[in-house]
């Protein structure tokens, strides 16, 4: 379905900040590179693996043109005045979930009352996911004890320091499951949808190089589709791109499968108005931002390929 544009005169170098270490979660990107989709668009893509928190700042300051990040962060960033815009909805479902060991019997939001819940930091996507879930699930302040636990979810859960932990759906739960631990989880997206991880750019690029955005998204889109259509081949490509996963192939395959679940949708890349509006409203209501963010300015579907 990817439209092939006329091959441009010269290849253009672009950088995209991934916000995490090389991982099977980036398989569509590796596929698009490997299959030459970017090259066909005249792009020479370079992947940077900086930490998420820095990336939006750099993007806003024009030090970067593209980054991967979640929609809630874009709302936060825009509220702080960063001219960043979300242009491609990659993770169709918001990937944060609340995980607990099956033995704890936590199955619904209701069950969390009186428990201790661990969250990495009191900021960031997982925290916002948690707040959204708590609000939608009717939890009041004081119903749960929230504990900042950094990136020690697995240790904190298994050692009983917390009853449940806010995680990424395709990370810690998968790890625990493949290690033989029975876990139960509540996916935030099932309770309240939020704009999830996708490709972000800045206003300068939008006004200056709209075509660049289009080409980049087109190539990526083809990668994502290819991945969904040929998961085995795609996984093999990821294995080549990230040779370090060799020793953890099984878990990584499981992670990959979880990702596929989150990615698969009828309309790849399309952001939904409702999700953004409700997110922006919720974040203002909840005090996560103190100025209203116009959802229309935070995202756009205009660079998606017209099929």
């Amino acid at each position: 379905t990817g439209a092939t544009a006329a091959p441009p005169a010269a290849t253009e170098r672009v950088k995209i900040a991934m916000g995490f270490i090389p991982n099977v979660q980036f398989t569509p990107m590796y596929v698009a590179l490997e299959q030459g989709f970017f090259a066909e668009e005249g792009l020479e893509l370079e992947l940077d693996y900086g930490m998420e928190a820095d990336i939006l700042g750099l993007l806003g300051a024009g030090q970067l043109q593209f980054a991967i990040g979640s929609g809630d962060q874009v709302v936060l960033a825009r509220a702080a005045g960063l001219p960043v815009v979300y242009v491609y909805d990659w993770y169709n479902r918001f990937p944060v979930s609340v995980v607990s060991l099956a033995a704890s019997g936590i199955e619904s939001v209701e069950d969390l009352k009186g428990k201790t819940v661990g969250v990495s930091h009191l900021a960031g996507a997982s925290y916002i996911g948690w707040r959204a879930l708590a609000e939608a699930g009717g939890l009041q302040d004081g119903d749960v004890t929230l504990q900042a636990i950094g990136y020690t979810q697995v240790a904190a859960l298994t050692s009983g320091q917390v009853d449940a932990a806010v995680c990424y759906y395709m990370n810690e739960p998968v790890q625990l499951q493949t290690a033989g631990e029975a876990v139960s989880q509540i996916l935030v997206n099932d309770i309240t949808p939020l704009p999830s991880n996708g490709i972000i750019t800045n206003e300068a690029t939008i006004s200056g190089k709209p075509d660049l955005i289009r080409r980049l998204l087109r190539a990526f889109d083809r990668g994502l589709r290819y991945t969904l259509d040929n998961p085995d081949e795609a996984f093999a490509i990821a294995e080549k791109a990230v040779p370090e996963i060799e020793g953890a192939r099984e878990v990584q395959r499981a992670v990959f499968e979880a990702c596929l679940e989150l990615w698969d949708t009828d309309e790849l890349g399309v952001s939904s108005d409702e999700a953004w509006s409700s997110a922006a409203e919720f974040m203002l209501r909840d005090g996560l931002v103190d100025v209203a963010v116009d959802p229309a300015s935070a995202f756009t579907n205009e660079f998606l390929s017209e099929d």
Binding site: A53, L56, G57, L58, G60, A61, L76, A77, A79, A80, G81, L82, G118, S120, H121, L122, A123, G124, Y127, L146, Q147, A148, I149, G150, Y151, T152, V154, A155, A156, S159, Q161, L288
Partner: protein, 256 residues
């Protein structure tokens, strides 16, 4: 004499003020010339406004107190442990040669890698931060102890032997005073690293403290807040460092 000392102190203080003002000016200049937006580096005025706000509402004070506690406890534990271990290792060069590389090895493990174990052993309370802080402080202090104790003049060692001093007396009346300049040098490092250590400890997972505030400021794109927290950390480190300088001045006055 008294006058000249006061004059010297006064000149130091005023020079410090000049340097501080210069740094703020440089900061403003960097922001302007570099054209950095607020969310990369905020302007001094923005930071000052934010500082006023968090000082007024008590937030800053409350977080500072938490970190200060962690730092002081971590320092106390780390320094004492280092002195004890350093002393024990210094009693035998063989011992030192065999064991110290392993202590070094332990030092080179990044805290994030230790985080899960820290959580299991110390939980999420203050103790895990104190532990990180103590660990960070331990090593420079231990090395200083080793270096300091090995620099005790031989003739004074002989003197103590002739006077039939016991181990404790040799330690307190010879080794510690002789090693004091180096020990205090170690302490200069230790106090600075203690602040870093507490912050790193808070990064592992915390809901209070200045390290938390830095992370928070960063997480909610409130860079002025982050800078206020950073400035508070700097002031804490400077205060501790100046404290050690003062201690040096008191304890090493025989040198001047």
């Amino acid at each position: 004499m008294g006058w000249s000392r006061n004059a010297k102190t006064a000149s130091q203080v005023s020079a410090s003020v000049v340097v501080a003002v210069g740094l703020v000016a440089a900061w403003e200049a960097v922001v302007r010339l570099g054209g950095y937006p607020t969310y990369i580096i905020p302007r001094p005025t923005e930071v000052a406004a934010k500082a006023l706000q968090v000082v007024r509402n008590g937030t800053l004070w409350q977080h500072t107190l938490v970190t200060a506690q962690e730092v002081l406890l971590g320092l106390a534990i780390g320094v004492s442990l280092a002195l004890v271990v350093g002393y024990l290792l210094s009693t035998s060069q063989w011992f030192e040669r065999v064991l110290s590389p392993y202590i070094v090895a332990a030092q080179s493990v990044p805290t994030v890698a230790l985080a899960p174990l820290l959580v299991i052993w110390f939980g999420f309370g203050m103790s895990s931060k104190v532990a990180v802080c103590a660990m960070v402080v331990f090593f420079p202090m231990m090395v200083s102890t080793l270096v300091g104790f090995s620099s005790v003049p031989e003739d004074l060692r002989d003197l103590m032997v002739v006077m039939r001093a016991n181990r404790w007396q040799v330690l307190t009346k010879l080794q510690v005073p002789a090693a004091l300049p180096v020990l205090l040098g170690g302490l200069r490092l230790a106090v600075t690293l203690a602040v870093v250590g507490a912050v790193v400890g808070e990064f592992v997972g915390a809901d209070r403290g200045l390290g938390f505030l830095v992370n928070m400021g960063k997480g909610i794109f409130d860079t002025p807040l982050m800078f206020v927290a950073l400035l508070a950390l700097m002031l804490m480190a400077m205060a501790l460092y100046v404290g050690v300088l003062w201690l040096e001045h008191k304890l090493l006055k025989w040198r001047y």
